[in-house]
């Protein structure tokens, strides 16, 4: 077939087959396979989190086609993309609900790792990487929440920034850094947008890379 021919042509030059074999071709032990023991579905939460993160990234990229990070236009652009464009409510809905689902899945995955004791030696490092991923995801949720620039967004950010400001000694500086000034305003919206779509996703990709490499190196933890 045509596709096969294209794949073979590329593979001949790039030698792709061993790469995807390395990625995809590995044993799934019985104790993590829900087809064997239904209760093993708890081992799916990590993969589900990744799946939802992929949805967030794709829907976020498409939202960014129309979204404007500016205090005068942000709310109008969200209103426009949701109500005047075909499937706008769906694309925004994917990103809006996906944000909560991603964090719920991430939390369930963390609970699974905790209660199966999978954080123990030799996997302590991956537990730490996981906590960093947790922090980055919370950061994505926090910065994304401001972007629609409505009352809920504005006051949630004020509350979040004041919580950060309660850190002893340096809290005040953290708050000014986050706000980019003395108030939640134009500069804050712009920074949160940049953090949300550039800085934090970049950090997330690096951490996920390490997370997955470590999983392949160390394998999944054994049965209880």
């Amino acid at each position: 077939m045509m596709l096969r021919a294209i794949y073979d042509w590329v593979d001949e030059r790039l030698d792709l087959t061993p790469i995807w074999r390395d990625v995809a071709d590995h044993e799934v032990p019985e104790h993590v396979n829900p087809a064997h023991h239904f209760s093993a579905f708890i081992y799916c939460f990590g993969g589900l989190t990744f799946f939802v993160v992929v949805i967030q990234i794709l829907s976020g990229m498409f939202l960014a086609l129309y979204y404007v990070p500016d205090i005068v236009n942000a709310h109008a652009s969200v209103n426009y993309l949701q109500n005047e464009l075909a499937m706008g409510a769906i694309v925004r809905g994917m990103h809006h609900w996906g944000a909560s689902v991603a964090i719920v899945m991430l939390f369930l995955h963390t609970l699974r790792v905790f209660f199966t004791g999978s954080y123990k030696n030799p996997r302590e490092f991956n537990w730490i990487v996981g906590l960093l991923i947790f922090a980055v995801m919370i950061g994505l949720g926090f910065t994304g929440y401001l972007l629609p620039w409505d009352n809920k967004a504005y006051f949630a950010t004020k509350v979040g920034v004041e919580i950060a400001a309660s850190v002893p000694f340096i809290g005040k500086y953290i708050a000014i850094f986050l706000q980019g000034g003395d108030i939640v305003g134009a500069v804050t919206l712009e920074r949160f947008f940049a953090l949300h779509v550039f800085f934090l996703p970049a950090a997330l990709f690096m951490l996920l890379g390490v997370h997955f490499i470590l999983i392949r190196r160390q394998g999944i933890s054994g049965p209880l």
């Binding site: 205090i71 006051f155 004020k158 000014i176 980019g180 000034g181 003395d182 108030i183 134009a186």
Partner: protein, 165 residues
């Protein structure tokens, strides 16, 4: 151990030093750029005539809106930015309270929740304050509402900066 640095070590140090220098040269402007707001001094606010004759101020708090000049990044509206003060008399003395909740910064409103008559109420986490701005014990805020500095000129009220507690 000899103190001599081998050729290999020397080259490694040079390479490391050069890489560090290039990296720092690249990162320094970007980091300095990102933290600039933290290092900039905020401008002070002066007193504003809020166009309210002092003898019209009664015991019941009223929301007084007034404009202050403020630069928010690249926004510097010519007409200024609107702030609110809750102005009232307490034992005959004029007081102007800041509407910013002392819990986590939402905006309080007078008598806005029918369950809590004659109190300031914050919708975010149900923070409450008595008329004089004192936080109601057992609700989230741990401090009374801030007061604005006020002045009286020609029988009119002037509102200044918030008094930092």
């Amino acid at each position: 151990m000899s103190k001599k640095v081998s050729r290999r070590k020397f080259l490694t140090y040079m390479l490391g030093g050069t890489a560090g220098f290039l990296g720092a040269g690249m990162l320094f402007p970007m980091v300095r750029f990102a933290v600039d707001p933290v290092l900039k001094k905020g401008g002070g606010v002066g007193f504003v005539d809020v166009n309210l004759p002092v003898n019209q101020i009664k015991d019941k708090p009223i929301a007084v809106e007034f404009k202050v000049h403020r630069k928010d990044g690249w926004y510097e509206p010519a007409e200024g930015e609107t702030l609110t003060a809750w102005v009232m008399r307490q034992n005959g003395k004029v007081v102007a309270l800041s509407p910013v909740c002392k819990h986590l910064g939402c905006t309080v409103n007078w008598d806005s929740n029918p369950q809590f008559k004659n109190e300031f109420f914050c919708p975010c986490h149900f923070g409450r304050y008595y008329k004089d701005g004192t936080n109601v014990p057992g609700t989230p805020p741990s401090k009374p509402l801030d007061k604005y500095q006020i002045k009286e000129e020609n029988g009119k009220l002037l509102i200044g900066p918030v008094i930092k507690a």
